[in-house]
């Protein structure tokens, strides 16, 4: 039985954790967000410099080639520290899409920049409210040009380009790369619940774009969503654990009636339940990491279970972290709300829980088996 991350990966994760903990003391992320900039422009190259952006990008394309298990561990630390950088959009989505569906030339063109941080990508699928669906993609790709309106596109203001889902002449949905400096692009900033993950409406009017040749239909999109779901699940697990740890620390240091409030059974049982939910989510995420790395047929079911349980644990932990902090937790000056906002952002960014539940059950119906391994 070897159902655990390797020692190398674990060591790297500890390094990331130490770095981010030191680099981002309480309040640092919030102050960075308050600058109004699109992301933390100082931190980003530092992360790139440590080689963490390209950890899952093969060495041939400027990455470290350590595989997706390593990226999962970094995702968890991103979820814990909430750095104000477009890590998930650029790496979990844009880089992943190119890695999976790009031509050799595209990989050589984009991946080294994504790995060294000089290039930031994002993913443009949604066109308003609703869940991912080929029918909801009205943006069109014709004669080498994209036309349509994507909303929300996360971290669009930070990005240099987007991987865009669009309908091609054949009627099939494909993925296309469009640079944000191209003619015909308009980015309009949106107010977002998660202030740490800004978004925009991006309007494409006859924008020159190149197709990812291996992404020939909707199944490419769902495959990308499955892969990203696992990385985001690790982000949520990290967030859940950080929010719970924050609540626990506070409960132990806050005294009422002459004892730490951590001695109250109501709090003990609440935090025990959150701990249990987070551990189960973590285990589901681990299975997701295995399925992602092994490119196993269980990937879709593993991704759905990981995402659903991680997002639920995270929202519960973030919500009750505020509650346990009492009035303090309800102020702007506390970091509690950053987790609360992120938890809600993660619960919709790749489609709602309903969408993933349906995908999971449909998958279980066809595979007629409930789990692998």
């Amino acid at each position: 039985m070897n159902f655990e991350f390797s020692e190398d990966v674990t060591a790297m994760r500890e390094e990331v954790k130490r770095f981010l903990t030191k680099r981002l003391p309480t309040g640092a992320v919030r102050h960075q967000i308050e600058t109004g900039d699109a992301f933390d422009r100082e931190l980003w190259p530092e992360l790139a410099g440590m080689g963490w952006l390209g950890v899952a990008i093969p060495e041939a394309y400027g990455g470290a080639g350590l595989g997706h298990e390593a990226l999962c561990m970094i995702a968890e630390e991103i979820g814990r520290a909430l750095p104000f950088v477009p890590f998930s959009s650029s790496i979990f989505l844009a880089a992943q899409a190119i890695l999976e569906f790009g031509s050799e030339a595209q990989k050589q063109k984009y991946l080294p920049g994504l790995a060294d941080g000089s290039l930031i990508g994002t993913f443009a699928l949604a066109e308003g409210a609703g869940d991912p669906s080929p029918d909801a993609v009205r943006t069109e790709f014709a004669s080498g040009q994209l036309t349509g309106r994507k909303l929300p596109v996360f971290e669009a203001a930070a990005a240099h380009f987007a991987v865009v889902a669009a309908r091609s002449g054949s009627g099939e949905i494909g993925l296309f790369i469009a640079g944000f400096d191209a003619e015909g692009i308009a980015r309009e900033t949106l107010a977002t619940l998660d202030i740490g993950r800004p978004a925009a409406t991006v309007t494409f009017t006859c924008v020159a774009a190149e197709a990812l040749p291996q992404a020939g239909n909707w199944s490419a999109v769902t495959r990308l969503l499955d892969q990203a779901a696992i990385l985001f699940a690790f982000e949520a697990v990290g967030g859940a654990q950080a929010a719970a740890a924050m609540a626990l620390d506070y409960a132990k240091s806050r005294y009422a009636f002459g004892r730490p409030i951590a001695a109250l059974q109501a709090l003990k049982h609440k935090l025990a339940d959150i701990y249990v939910a987070t551990e189960l989510a973590r285990s589901n995420a681990y299975f997701g990491a295995w399925a992602l790395e092994a490119n196993a047929p269980e990937l879709p079911a593993a991704a759905a279970a990981a995402r659903i349980s991680a997002n639920e644990a995270f929202f519960e932990a973030a919500k009750e972290n505020i509650q346990i902090h009492g009035g303090m937790g309800f102020t702007w000056e506390s970091d509690c709300h950053l987790y609360y906002r992120r938890a809600k952002q993660l619960s919709g960014n790749l489609g709602s829980a309903r969408y993933w539940r349906n995908r999971l059950i449909d998958r279980l119906m066809t595979q007629n088996q409930t789990a692998a391994a």
């Binding site: 107010a191 993950r197 005294y255 009636f257 109250l264 009035g327 702007w332 619960s347 919709g348 309903r354």
Partner: protein
């Protein structure tokens, strides 16, 4: 069993409606309540004027003695007037702390001079009151407050920090509790004061909440001198006076405002899931029905309470139930409203987010509703102890001198 007013109630309701029709405008059908709104100077001026108008017409201070401008009326009249007033567009109510809490407390614990000085200006909307109770280290454990009040000649000198004070930035007076003796058990060493907010050393700062708005203040008190004539009740009786005051609060903490069943139902009819309105989805229905049953249950619980009042009985713990259930319901409804929008749930632009991002905004203030005015946990304790008569939590600090109580790392 019916929902009809008694003849007396019906007559009063007609009177109230006549006054309101003459002085205010009815709300439109889908007006949106929000649990998070900060008041500006204009709001305050309008509120003061409206309070004055109501007091002149005899629609304020329903319980107050007539000699201080009140009506000597019934609880039911207060309820009926509130029911009717709710249907109109009126300025925000900022007089509850003064008219509903401070003055009744002064009338029962204060001197005649204090009553004469403060009653009418409060009732007629000239002076706004706030409440300086909670502290950063004393929330649920209110009696653990640390603001120090030391006697100095004819004055008291107060130092400390208060927090979660609504309306402090435009209040003229405050009810203040401070620790006058730290050497005795915590409930015994408190004294209650009337504080003029214009006194030097009173520094009011607004607190920015998660949502970005500021409904509360923190108040720093540095060598604030309060004349002993402004003391309310005996030295060391502060807890007793505070409890008198909070007993009046019970009637005033009610349901958390914000989107409720009707609103999420409307959203569910609007939003499409797989080419059908979300309201057709069985999982959506399960949640909707749950909130409907809670909302209806709260409504009819309130009507049962009003019936008890109408029959001259003392109402039960309905206010605790209403706050406990409605705050959680609000947070759930807000979260679900966001979830229903799928990939665009996190967008708060009013162009994209239905009803001017009402659900997203509610999600950001809902956590406060589960905390302010008694946390969920405190309310469950209250229900368990006062209604179900279960034993109180064990307290290590009950009989300990205050300055010996463990207070943790600071």
């Amino acid at each position: 069993m019916d929902f009809n007013d008694t003849p007396e109630e019906a007559a009063f309701r007609a009177e109230a409606r006549a006054f309101l029709n003459a002085n205010a405008v009815l709300k439109s059908e889908h007006s949106r309540t929000s649990g998070s709104r900060a008041f500006n100077a204009e709001d305050v001026a309008l509120s003061k004027a409206w309070q004055g108008k109501k007091a002149e017409a005899g629609f304020a201070g329903f319980h107050w003695p007539k000699k201080y401008g009140g009506r000597e009326g019934t609880q039911m009249q207060a309820i009926i007037f509130a029911q009717e007033e709710e249907k109109y567009l009126v300025p925000p109510g900022i007089f509850n702390q003064g008219v509903g809490m401070a003055l009744p407390t002064i009338m029962s614990c204060g001197t005649q001079a204090q009553i004469d000085r403060y009653a009418r200006p409060a009732l007629f909307g000239e002076e706004v009151w706030c409440q300086l109770f909670s502290e950063p280290a004393a929330g649920s454990d209110l009696a653990g407050l640390r603001t120090r009040g030391a006697r100095d000649g004819d004055d008291w000198v107060v130092n400390g920090q208060k927090v979660w004070t609504s309306n402090a930035h435009f209040s003229q007076f405050a009810m203040l509790v401070a620790r006058s003796n730290p050497d005795v058990p915590k409930h015994q060493g408190l004294t209650f004061f009337i504080l003029d907010m214009a006194t030097p050393g009173v520094d009011v700062r607004r607190i920015k909440q998660i949502s970005g708005t500021s409904n509360f203040c923190e108040v720093f008190l540095t060598d604030v001198r309060i004349p002993d004539s402004q003391r309310l009740g005996a030295v060391g009786d502060g807890w007793k006076v505070a409890m008198t005051m909070l007993a009046n609060e019970r009637f005033t903490v009610g349901q958390a405002e914000g989107p409720d069943f009707d609103d999420i139902f409307r959203l569910a009819k609007l939003v499409m899931l797989d080419d059908a309105p979300a309201v057709n989805d069985a999982a959506v229905r399960e949640k909707l029905v749950n909130w409907f049953c809670q909302a209806q249950g709260l409504k009819y619980t309130r009507l049962r309470m009003q019936t008890a009042l109408s029959r001259g009985k003392t109402p039960g713990p309905e206010a605790s139930i209403a706050k406990l259930v409605s705050a959680t319901k609000l947070q759930e409804i807000a979260a679900f409203g966001v979830d229903l929008l799928g990939q665009a749930g996190a967008v708060m632009d009013s162009e994209t987010a239905p009803f001017d991002a009402w659900f997203q905004n509610a999600l950001l203030y809902a956590p406060g509703k589960r905390i302010a005015g008694g946390t969920d946990e405190i309310l469950r304790n209250i229900i368990a102890e006062r209604v179900l008569k279960m034993p109180a939590d064990m307290r290590v600090d009950k009989d300990m001198p205050f300055n010996k109580i463990p207070a943790g790392p600071r």
